[in-house]
């Protein structure tokens, strides 16, 4: 009897709800419906009488423009699967109302917490889901139709139950049913937080079941989202065009215990056309077998770009490019990414940049450039791996302008179908190793002699904040002023014009190597343009005032003109005699040459009106500010800072009515003169003997801290000889070629005993392993000890000629 009453009551309520919907919709415009699952009694979906369950709205067909709003701070148990479709300009929205935490939908073991099937034009926002099996939020279809316009924003989807048995599972999945002819189009997922599942996917959008051609005309965007603690992949797009994955973070993915379903990555795309993956961070990727990487341009993709991403601390690689299943992956670009401390658990030795083709797939067009790679693998593998792959077709295939800093010395293991050039290599420990084609080299000199990489460099890139290995992430990514990577890259036609950090490229005569472009002049002045105070104030922000007569009120900021957004400048002047000094002290300055400039104008007539620099380690310097009613630039250059600081400012001693104005103050460090490019070749470990003949530059140290001496006929490699540049750290000696050659790159000419033939008069380098003698000849020379002397006894040497252009 009781059950029957409840059933009747439910049917009655359902009927009332239907009536409510009909009444509300009878007005021919969209309506808002309300759900408050904290209520004991069910209502009719209005603000005054909300529904108190998900079953009622899940049984109704909603109209374009309708809103289903769940009350914040409440929890509903069940699955929300409302019916109906919106239309262009009038989507149906699932959202929230009120104040507090997002409304929670607890799905337990239901198929999903929120589900839409064969529906279009929906927005889902401001809700949290807990549970579901095998999905949390699932949008799908099985008709031969295009399902368009889905907007998912500010949602939290977590703790989907079950264990993955298929890749069609996970937290947010928007894709056609398996085998269906459905197309998904125009999707934006913005601000989704997904976590905790042993199902496969974190956030996934699949546009079709076939791969060619992708038929969605609109954009597919996943941005500002976080995916973590997932058995399979973090964030993926499949079989779509115009995909964009940006500004996301994906970590702790790939926790599956077996590879039965697959091998995951943090953020990747496949069968994707014109897709971009940028400004993302991925870390702590895992896998039960292969992969376990961060980013991946996978099989069947065309024109995919992976740029400006940060991938670190993965078990596997940083970026992979794959071709498989008889499909071509075309025009892949991997640029300006930072990869650090990956390969943490990779028995498959995939490297940090990994290219692979299999089962008839191939790559046509691979451009990998200007990435900074800290390679610190747990197993001894190379940073770049490209072996036994099919790289064919008309596209370029190259690896250029990259920095590889390797903790093991292993840089490259690649076939010769991928061109190397303009890369900068540096081994933090161990002998450097390059494997290219069928060759193998354990010194940069021998590597260069093989003419594999004409413009490569082997040098400490001199990155800021050189890291300690191996217990912490490697986080030094920008170039120091004396970095050999500066201006040593080559222009690539597909470059975008800025580096990882947004710095425009190039800053000098050429682009830099690596993901960071060095900015030579950084203004060290606080509040240089006097805009910080957003108004007329005394003693502008960042500046201090001094006055011998207590007239510190005589300096202030002044607006250029009234208006909604006035701009300001600094000024001196009051209607009586005064003296005032507006200044700031710049601490923490590295020793070097600096320049102080400002734009000024003045009434003239003051007994003192100057810009000055003092307390920098030298005598006070001033420049008089001339009388001028128009802005004039004054400069103090070649300021040799040696005291670790400087005090800069403007000083007036004046009578009533005399004034001084100053703006856009700049204090910059002059770029130090570039040293000749130096190639350093390992010579001996600490405690050993570095043997050579003649006079050589010898560098001693480790991890970016070195002492250099010019020595003759060998040396002991000890603290006693050099001092200790890196206490407590094993050091080594390396021989440089600094002292003799002009800055240039060299190309192999002839082996020892051969003839190096050329036209004209040219300087010729002879030697090996970083030990060279140089002589100038006309119309060729024999390449022998008799001609040059012996720079490297008992070592096979060669002659090289300077390379005259890129």
């Amino acid at each position: 009897m009781r059950i029957s009453s409840i059933a009747v009551e439910r049917r009655l309520r359902f009927a009332l709800a239907i009536v409510a919907v009909l009444v509300l919709h009878s007005k021919a415009y969209a309506a808002d419906f309300y759900v408050d699952c904290s209520l004991l009694t069910d209502g009719v979906g209005t603000a005054d009488a909300p529904w108190n369950n998900l079953a009622t709205p899940s049984a109704l067909t909603f109209m374009p423009g309708d809103v289903i709003a769940l009350k914040r701070g409440t929890t509903c148990v069940g699955m929300l699967a409302p019916l109906g479709s919106g239309e262009p300009g009038a989507p149906i929205t699932i959202g929230a109302y009120g104040s507090g935490g997002r409304p929670v939908i607890v799905a337990a073991e239901r198929p999903a917490a929120v589900a839409l099937f064969n529906q279009t034009h929906w927005a889902i926002r401001d809700v949290e889901t807990n549970g579901g099996n095998p999905h949390g939020l699932h949008i799908s279809g099985d008709t031969a139709a295009t399902l368009s316009y889905f907007r998912i924003s500010n949602v939290s989807v977590h703790d989907v139950g079950g264990v993955a048995t298929t890749k069609q599972s996970g937290l947010i999945d928007i894709s056609p049913a398996p085998g269906a002819a459905t197309v998904v189009d125009d999707v934006v997922i913005d601000g989704a937080t997904v976590f905790n599942t042993e199902q496969w996917k974190g956030i996934h959008v699949g546009c079709a079941n076939g791969v060619f051609p992708a038929r969605n005309p609109g954009r597919i965007i996943i941005r500002n989202s976080r995916a973590s603690n997932i058995a399979g992949d973090g964030i993926t797009i499949y079989a779509c065009s115009n995909g964009l994955i940006e500004n996301n973070v994906s970590y702790d993915i790939g926790t599956a215990s077996t590879a039965a379903v697959g091998t995951p990555n943090a953020i990747w795309t496949w069968a994707c056309a014109d897709c971009v993956v940028q400004f993302n961070e991925g870390f702590r990727s895992h896998s039960p077998a292969r992969d376990g990487g961060i980013f991946d341009i996978d099989w069947g993709s065309s024109r995919t770009t992976v740029q400006y991403n940060y991938g670190h601390d993965a078990d596997g690689y940083c970026v992979a490019i794959f071709g498989a299943w008889g499909l071509v992956t075309t025009n892949s670009i991997v640029r300006y990414n930072i990869c650090a401390n990956n390969g943490r658990s990779d028995p498959y030795l995939q490297g940090d940049i990994y290219l692979k083709t299999w089962d008839g797939g191939w790559l046509d067009g691979v451009e990998i450039y200007n990435n900074t790679i800290y390679w610190n693998p747990a197993a001894p593998s190379s940073a770049l791996v490209n072996r036994e792959n099919s790289l064919v077709g008309t596209g370029p295939h190259f690896f250029k302008n990259n920095i590889i800093v390797s903790s093991t010395g292993a840089f490259v293991s690649a076939d010769d179908n991928l061109t190397l050039d303009h890369n900068l290599y540096w081994a933090l420990d161990g002998a450097p190793v390059w494997e290219y084609g069928s060759g193998w080299w354990n010194s940069f000199t021998s590597f260069q002699s093989a003419a594999v990489e004409a413009h490569g460099l082997y040098a400490d890139p001199l990155l800021t904040n050189t890291p300690d290995l191996p217990d912490r992430p490697l986080t030094a990514f920008t170039l120091r002023p004396d970095s050999p990577a500066i201006d040593r890259g080559v222009t690539i036609s597909s470059m975008t014009g800025h580096d990882f950090f947004g710095v425009l490229t190039p800053q000098g005569n050429a682009v830099d190597i690596g993901a960071s472009e060095y900015e030579p002049a950084m203004n060290l002045i606080v509040n240089p343009s006097f805009e910080f105070d957003l108004g007329t104030v005394q003693t502008p922000y960042g500046w201090s005032t001094w006055s011998s007569a207590g007239q510190d009120y005589a300096d202030y900021t002044q607006a250029y003109a009234d208006g909604d957004s006035p701009t300001y400048y600094g000024a001196h002047g009051v209607p009586h005699s005064y003296d005032v000094f507006t200044y700031q002290v710049l601490p923490g300055l590295a020793a070097g040459s600096y320049q102080l400039t400002a734009w000024v104008k003045s009434s003239g007539g003051q007994s003192v009106a100057w810009m000055e620099v003092n307390a920098y380690g030298g005598a006070k310097r001033t420049v008089t500010i001339p009388a001028s009613s128009t802005w004039t630039r004054v400069t103090l250059s070649d300021i040799a800072v040696a005291a670790g600081q400087a005090r800069v400012g403007f000083y007036s001693i004046a009578e009533a009515g005399q004034w001084l104005a100053f703006d856009d103050v700049s204090f910059t460090r002059a770029a130090p003169p570039m040293p000749p490019p130096t190639d350093w070749t390992f010579c001996a470990p600490e405690g050993g003997v570095c043997a050579f003949t003649g006079t050589m530059e010898v560098r001693y140290g480790a991890t970016g801290s070195f002492f250099v001496k010019t020595l003759t006929n060998g040396t002991a490699c000890t603290n006693a000889v050099f001092g200790d540049p890196a206490p407590g750290t094993p050091k080594q000696c390396a021989i440089g070629t600094l002292s003799t050659p002009p800055p240039m790159d060299w190309t192999f000419c002839a082996p020892e005993g051969g003839v190096c033939a050329f036209n004209g008069t040219i300087q010729v380098r002879y030697g090996a392993n970083g030990s060279f003698f140089f002589k100038t000849f006309t119309e060729g020379t024999a390449c022998t000890n008799q001609v040059f002397g012996d720079p490297a006894p008992d070592v096979a040497k060669s002659c090289s000629l300077p390379l005259t252009g890129p």
């Binding site: 914040r72 009120g98 104040s99 507090g100 935490g101 927005a123 401001d126 907007r151 924003s153 500010n154 939290s156 934006v188 913005d190 601000g191 937080t193 954009r219 965007i221 941005r223 500002n224 976080r226 500004n247 996301n248 973070v249 970590y251 940028q278 400004f279 961070e281 702590r284 400006y308 940060y310 601390d313 930072i338 943490r344 800021t464 904040n465 890291p467 912490r472 992430p473 986080t475 030094a476 990514f477 800025h498 990882f500 950090f501 947004g502 950084m522 203004n523 060290l524 002045i525 606080v526 509040n527 240089p528 910080f532 105070d533 957003l534 108004g535 922000y541 960042g542 601490p587 923490g588």
Partner: protein, 211 residues
Amino acid sequence: MTLLAKLSGTLSIVLPLVFSAPLPAAAQAERIPIVAGGLLTGSCSTQTSVSVTAAVTPGHSIADSGATSKWLSAIGSKAVLLSFIDTSEQSTNGPDNPDMSRRLLVFIRSVRTQHSTDALAVALVDGSGWSKSEDVERLVNFRSDNGLVDTPMLVGADGMRAMRELGVRCLPTTFLVDRDARITARWEGLVLPATIANAIAAQGHVREVAR
């Protein structure tokens, strides 16, 4: 008491660690230039990359920044990642939305995930301005939705004061402050996690969460 002060007082009850000390007399006399429904300053111009400014010299102390300094000192002796954000931003659901504060928070939360909480704190300042009572609900929801309920946050007039004290010109702006209260980095616009990681590593004493 102004409307702004009322709002700040209300929030100091609702939200933990919101600074609500009375303003100095001199500060009371200053204008706090909030425009109706708008920002004290504009959005930063950089959308897709970080703008590292040297406007605050590394080593500059935050100790002179009045109320903000007191607030930060209450967080404890640790490095602080201090972000001034616009909580009024809404996703435009479009392909080119300029919601940099929301984008920044994704990375701020990632940095917080990767560092020990006893070594690095995250603190926020809402620079959106306060002009109507609905803003209280908006901020409560914002903090809840973004997992920031336990994150110290200055709002209302106190937030505006902090902006003025630290010379914030646009939103978002982020400072990295070391445990000795020195500003070691300042970024306007979207700052990428690699950049933050770089700056944190330069401090040398902030440790990462064990992996």
